[in-house]
Symmetry: C2
Subunit: 241 residues, 2 copies
DNA sequence: TCAAAAGTGTTAGTCTTACACCCATGC
DNA sequence: GCATGGGTGTAAGACTAACACTTTTGA
């Protein structure tokens, strides 16, 4: 293992989850006081990130970040875009920060996102906070764009890939699933029609179990079967441009 | 302008087109004779590529490659993935090649694809050749994977984004369009149903013009209207997982 | 007049949409 | 017994899938 950092290559991670009918993204506090404790020069938020080590792959670097945050290994991360414009780091505070880290101004950032179920707890929460994606705080670098690109990528795939189930707990109710679609796409769906459509899919398997939710009446639980999905999807060809 | 190269950052470009009912990718001959003219140590094919210059953006670097090849500026390129594993350059010939270029073994490659219409001519063809994507020659680096990733990305988007029209000339016939779908997806479509579906789209506009093709009977030409498409697509929300 | 690809219509079945009330339970 | 979210059915209309022949032209 070569633990030296590549000084112009980093991996940024966008962790996302749904909470209270809102899409939330995890950010880390960034602060730097150069002259005095009372004069913070940098005081904003950034995406969790690491420089890539000489003997680490990109995906390994992302996994390390995810693991540090959640304490678990995740298989469903997506590399969605790389940011490497010559002038992407150009504000005074960002340049100062980069210098304080001994890294290059021209840093290439490979961005990943990871979708977590609503009930996932973080391993440690120090300096970390979930923000609604519509009301982000002041962000460093081009992280506003990165977060937005991640969101757009998810939106564009949510209707054709089984991404939505990453937002769900393993066992979920149909109303939870509907609410997830509605929140992510910003639309409203007809409950009866949604249920008919979803329950007609062989890869959404009803369980005997029920769960008591916010309602008085217990609701039936369902699971997503990846195996069944992969079989079914093979034969599906709809021209839909 | 700083014309020095970043010695660990390159952009690879996958140029694609349809020709004779086959998807083709453009490759560049790579050869290096170290000891004698008759003993080629490296003799294979690679994707068109450039190292990124210190003052160039990633997209600019891709544009430069595309422009050198086609003599035109293209707006519809897609950055689809970045390759930066520690050991992605590991064969003797690839290491030799990298060394001969004065670059780093740990080179990060940002990959773009560009879809060209069938009739597009290259500016120069020296050392360049179009290969069927199913029968690629011996390739350098991980370019086999890169090409395949590009193809998968296109396939996954072809039914939900108007990507297909990049493969077409500005004016095209419905049968050409159908054939493009069939080639890309490896499926067969019913001609009557396809025509009905396509002609029902407001963004596929019939022209008065006709063209004489391979057939005796001239065929009507159509165009794709991006403006109309963007308006229509807004209101389209189909949950289709 | 024939060869070649272009172009066309109908029907049965399936899927989608719109819509309003009862159910099971906890309090 | 009532408040809360869970859960259900139907009918009209739209879309899809399957299928075979005629048209226009060049040679």
């Amino acid at each position: 293992m070569d633990f030296r950092k590549l000084d112009n290559l980093s991996v940024d991670c966008v962790l996302l989850k749904l909470e209270n009918n809102a899409l939330k993204v995890l950010l880390r506090k960034r602060s730097l006081n150069l002259f005095s404790e009372n004069l913070p020069i940098i005081d904003d938020w950034v995406l969790p990130s690491h420089y890539v080590l000489k003997s680490n792959n990109l995906g390994e670097t992302a996994n390390r970040i995810f693991n540090e945050l959640t304490g678990e290994n995740h298989l469903n991360k997506s590399q969605f875009r790389t940011y490497g414009n010559a002038n992407r780091i150009n504000s005074d505070k960002d340049l100062l920060w980069i210098r304080s880290r001994g890294a290059k101004n021209r840093t290439i950032t490979v961005a990943y996102y990871l979708i977590l179920p609503s009930n996932k707890k973080l391993k440690q929460t120090e300096g970390l906070k979930w923000f609604k994606i519509q009301t982000l705080p002041e962000l460093g670098f081009d992280h506003h764009k990165i977060i937005n690109d991640a969101y757009q990528d998810i939106k564009s795939k949510i209707n054709t890939e089984p991404l939505i189930f990453n937002f769900m707990q393993i066992k979920f109710t149909l109303n939870e699933l509907q609410s997830a679609f509605e929140t992510l796409l910003g639309i409203e769906l007809d409950n009866r029609n949604f249920r008919k459509k979803i329950t007609s899919k062989p890869y959404i398997v009803p369980l005997e179990e029920k769960r008591k939710g916010q309602s008085k009446k217990p609701s039936r639980l369902y699971m997503f079967s990846n195996e069944v999905y992969n079989q079914v999807v093979e034969t599906d060809h709809i021209i839909n441009i």
